[in-house]
């Protein structure tokens, strides 16, 4: 197929960029990443679905773990932020925060452009998928964070704050873009006499609603809310009283890591089902789901380095910029861009990009970060 050639060229460019000598180090990182329980649980989930095995995670357990993970990320983020704040004020934070916001605005646009002009997809589908890739996946963050901690290069303490910042702008920009361009297209067609633009007003009100829903969605509310709670409690509570909360939520702790295993198992089960849709979405979207993250990851790593993040921080920022949302984005897209086929966006985000990032992407971003000189 025509468009997949571009993919190959991108790959070649990437290889040139990272340099052949990096390869063995990437492989080593890969091994260190792949043979750990978290990606292996994901793999187990995929295998189970493919052989029609009987593992069934109750969806309430899945939701509960999601809630716990988001609360943890927020709470520990707030706790670390408080320490950072006490030590350095906002000096170390504002640059990475700006960089993150900038990336949140750029990635939906790069995604849209690639999908619309390289992939020749419809406006609605392009915007819908761009909304997913402009946002972020909290679980990819959690896995990336585990990886850098296991590699003895923990990320800067304020990374959870950046995750929170990255969640919304991408979705908002992509949806507004999609709604505006669709409206223009419809207006053009209506002028040409083909369709009456009846449902215009309904659409605008839905866009506003959807944007509000994204901004007050579960992920943001829990992460930002617990961030504030973690921050305040750290400042005002004495350490002994704070201890049990810290142990419960801490991201290096057994609860977080264990919950992540179960969560990834379920993600594997779901991704396994989606694998069958890969044929439907076609080779372009599969290539997109691999190369777009690599490019976005590189953006993330580089901007992170410029903003002064450490090695772990650059890796994690790369991973979250590269990741695609599959929780906050889908309902918002479904409501505002009904013509967009959700099979495309969700299969790409969940059955291509997510596994790619978990298995290969994170170690690659780590090597990218070393390559750009982060420490």
């Amino acid at each position: 197929m025509h468009s997949s050639e571009h993919g190959l060229q991108l790959l070649a460019a990437l290889f040139a960029a990272t340099g052949g000598g990096q390869l063995s180090r990437i492989l080593e990182s890969l091994e260190r990443n792949l043979l750990t329980p978290i990606p292996l649980c994901f793999l187990l989930g995929i295998i189970c679905t493919r052989i029609h095995g009987g593992i069934k995670i109750p969806k309430e357990l899945y939701y509960s773990i999601a809630i716990f993970l988001l609360m943890s990320i927020g709470f520990i983020g707030g706790h670390e932020l408080a320490h950072e704040y006490q030590a350095h004020g906002v000096a170390t934070i504002w640059k990475p925060a700006l960089a993150t916001l900038f990336l949140g605005c750029v990635t939906p646009i790069t995604s849209f452009v690639v999908l619309r002009y390289l992939g020749r997809m419809s406006i609605a589908d392009s915007a819908g998928i761009a909304a997913h890739y402009g946002s972020t996946s909290a679980v990819t963050y959690a896995v990336a964070n585990s990886f850098v901690e296991q590699s003895q290069h923990p990320a800067n303490s304020f990374l959870p704050t950046l995750v929170t910042l990255l969640e919304c702008p991408g979705i908002a920009i992509a949806l507004v873009l999609g709604a505006a361009l669709s409206a223009k297209e419809r207006a053009a067609k209506a002028a040409a006499g083909s369709i009456a633009g009846i449902r215009g007003p309904g659409r605008e009100s839905k866009l506003g609603e959807a944007l509000y829903e994204v901004m007050t969605g579960q992920s943001i509310m829990l992460m930002a809310g617990l961030l504030v709670i973690g921050f305040i409690s750290t400042l005002f509570m004495d350490e002994k009283a704070f201890q049990p909360f810290y142990e419960f939520f801490q991201s290096k702790g057994m609860l977080f890591r264990g919950a992540l295993c179960i969560f990834l198992l379920e993600m594997g089960l779901v991704a396994g089902e989606r694998l069958g849709d890969l044929v439907k979405v076609g080779p372009f979207l599969v290539a997109f789901g691999i190369f777009m993250p690599l490019i976005h990851g590189f953006f993330g790593v580089s901007m992170g380095h410029l903003a002064g993040l450490n090695l772990g921080g650059c890796t994690v920022l790369g991973a979250i910029v590269a990741s695609a949302s599959y929780i906050a984005a889908p309902p918002a897209v479904r409501l505002t861009l009904p013509e967009a086929n959700p099979t495309y966006s969700i299969t790409a985000a969940l059955a291509v990009t997510f596994p790619f990032n978990i298995a290969f992407g994170i170690p690659i971003y780590y090597e990218m970060a070393r390559w750009v000189g982060a420490q």
Binding site: K59, Y62, V270, I327, R334, P342, T343, I346, L350
Partner: protein, 107 residues
């Protein structure tokens, strides 16, 4: 016992549209509705992606007068049949003390 002939409107479809349908049903004159989580399979069900944490299917029922029933069905079919996975049907029911489910100024 007094039974009133009324209509039962049932809509099954993506959960993402149900809140709006419920609100609209009330605006069009329904005194209430009953909602339940289901799973399902249909012609367009690829649309209704079965991911955890993502789209779900729901079934909503309204007990209403014939006119309100038609209004709700029209709304649903115009607004949602094209792009969303859903199905809607109507059946006859006899309702106890059914007069209270016919709002005078419903429309």
């Amino acid at each position: 016992m007094q039974l009133y002939p009324l209509k039962l409107v049932t809509v099954v479809g993506e959960s993402v549209i149900m809140e709006d349908i419920a609100e609209r049903g009330i605006k069009l004159g329904a005194s209430g509705y009953t909602l339940v989580d289901v799973t399902g399979h249909g012609a367009r069900s690829t649309r209704n992606v079965s991911m955890s944490g993502g789209a779900r299917t729901q079934k909503i029922e309204f007990v209403v007068s014939g006119e309100v029933a038609v209004d709700i069905l029209s709304y649903v079919s115009h607004q949602y049949f094209e792009h969303y996975a859903c199905i809607a049907w109507l059946s006859d029911v006899s309702v106890v003390r059914g007069d209270q489910y016919v709002k005078p100024g419903g429309r």
